[in-house]
Symmetry: C2
Subunit: 333 residues, 2 copies
């Protein structure tokens, strides 16, 4: 590319280029490691409220020292969009050179890259924290992240059965079951309750936009790993905070963010978590500075809220792959 | 456009579509009026520092209630770029629907739209504040904004002569003089000092990135209007703060911002300006809530720092014009 060239990639192209696979997980893992090493700079999210339209636009970014580029992600959430047949949330990314600030690429991914980088974080949590021999895994929710988190688990553990609980319509849940059976090539069954999912599973991923904790401490059993990735704002919560008390290891993607908008928030509000509570960031576990699971009977928990560094890592990967495969529209500018 | 279509406009296309003319000035004027009416929401600028590369990336945005779209501008400043033959500052904008958050357009303007919206603010300042019969105007600096601010003044006042002072090389200053003579169709001459420019002119626009006030209060004469648009960060300053004391009317684009990063900052630091000092925002003058110049002998001053609302207004205009003229690349996404 010459100076002034901008690469434009559509969602269709990005879906073909970037998959949830080992390379992607390794890329996101590198991001968390750099974050732990203190090599990442992430400014606070910028939020533009559009109260009349019941919407908001968030901008986030992350710079990783030594890496050639940075992503700026603009994400919209408009609650009445589904009534109009439009997605409630979407996003796109700009990739800028970290050396000279010039625009390298416009990634018109409609939120796809965010889905992938979020699922990759789930894979990393499972890699270091889930029991090694997990026969059964469970997921609460049946949206895109429920699908992708299961695919992410499949990269890290060879489970034999999946249980799902969702408040979605029977029709949509049926589609989910049938799709996931095909993708994962194992039985995928509906459970009668979230409690039943937890009871039957050694790994559980919670993926709902619940506003109230529903996963209760008395459901937790030895050997359970929970990845809670639904809460990403101060009004969402999936775990009854007492669950935090049951965990031998509590991990998260970014402590300073999880205590504001993740499951750690409820723990702090109820006095279960304090500044002294040992909470490991994924990067510290990846680098071996803190330990992940060391015993099949430990209860482990990972709170994921999503970080600007993940956006930068996935956008960089997309750009690399597009250049390798010469995909996308090059605009002389 | 259908849902999912994204319009991509290059700098070349945007330069043909958007000019500094009456329609553009009216568009920016509407933005300032909406700001005054309390209809604009502008989150604080998000800044990502890249200290290793001596650079920073700023993101700003502005929502104007009732208008159909919002711009998100990503602007880079990398100080060593000129050594590499690259521009030190550049930017681009995304235009999102304010109704559903979807991406409407990618404006690859390389900073051009920012130049135009900044110059348009200068035109508005002159329209309401400059003496009606201004024979001679002056500009300090000879960069892009020196050029565009002169073109902006030409829209509002029929001056007969221009004086310029710049610390640029003689060669570059010669090019400036010759270019501007052609564009403005009046004599454009080099003055021997900034002081001489002020002495000879009834309107002066300061456009430099000076880090120290150079325009002195004792230079100010009855009837002078100054538009100070160079300072847009806390380390820049063009006016010796005492100049503020000489002004009968002090105006600005956005008080809360100018006291941090504009010329008002120096006034506050030296105790010349307090919370009680009457300072008019341009929007209040446009709406007639505050008066602009009412007497040819008044000394008037306008401090411009640039606002996210101007970005939204100019991006909307570019999008409108592109749709009217069917310019740009429509990407199905």
């Amino acid at each position: 590319m010459e100076y002034g060239d901008v690469l434009v990639l559509t969602e269709h192209e990005l879906r073909k280029l970037v998959s949830l696979n080992e390379r992607t997980v390794a890329q996101i893992e590198q991001g968390f490691a750099e974050l732990e090493k203190g090599n990442a700079v992430m400014p606070a999210v910028m939020t533009l409220q559009l109260p009349d339209a019941g919407g908001a636009v968030d901008v986030r970014s992350g710079y990783v020292k030594g890496l050639p580029s940075i992503a700026v992600k603009t994400a919209s959430g408009f609650f009445s969009n589904p009534d109009l047949g439009l997605p409630s949330c979407t996003s796109q990314m700009l990739l800028l050179s970290a050396e000279n600030g010039l625009l390298l690429a416009v990634l018109l991914d409609n939120g796809y890259l965010t889905e992938v980088r979020s699922a990759a974080a789930g894979a990393i949590a499972a890699k270091y924290m889930a029991p090694r021999f997990a026969e059964t895994v469970g997921v609460i929710g049946s949206g895109i992240q429920a699908r992708m988190q299961l695919e992410a688990l499949k990269l890290e553990r060879s489970f034999k059965r999946v249980y799902v609980y969702s408040t979605d319509s029977d029709e949509r849940t049926e589609i989910f079951l049938s799709d996931m059976k095909k993708k994962l090539k194992v039985p995928v069954e509906q459970a009668e309750s979230a409690e039943a999912v937890v009871a039957k599973s050694s790994i559980v991923v919670t993926t709902t936009p619940s506003r109230e904790g529903y996963l209760r401490p008395e459901w937790v059993h030895p050997g359970l790993h929970i990845t809670a990735m639904g809460s990403d704002s101060a009004d969402k919560q999936e775990l009854v905070p007492g669950v935090l008390r049951t965990a031998d290891i509590i991990a998260c993607d970014l402590r300073s963010q999880c205590i504001r908008i993740g499951e750690l928030r409820g723990g702090i509000e109820q006095g279960i978590i304090s500044d002294e509570t040992p909470i490991q960031e994924l990067g510290a576990i990846i680098l071996g500075r803190q330990s992940g699971r060391v015993d099949e009977d430990q209860v482990t928990l990972c709170d994921l809220t999503g970080t600007g560094v993940q956006d930068t890592m996935i956008a960089m990967l997309a750009y690399e792959l597009a250049n390798e495969k010469e995909v996308g529209l090059r605009i002389k500018n």
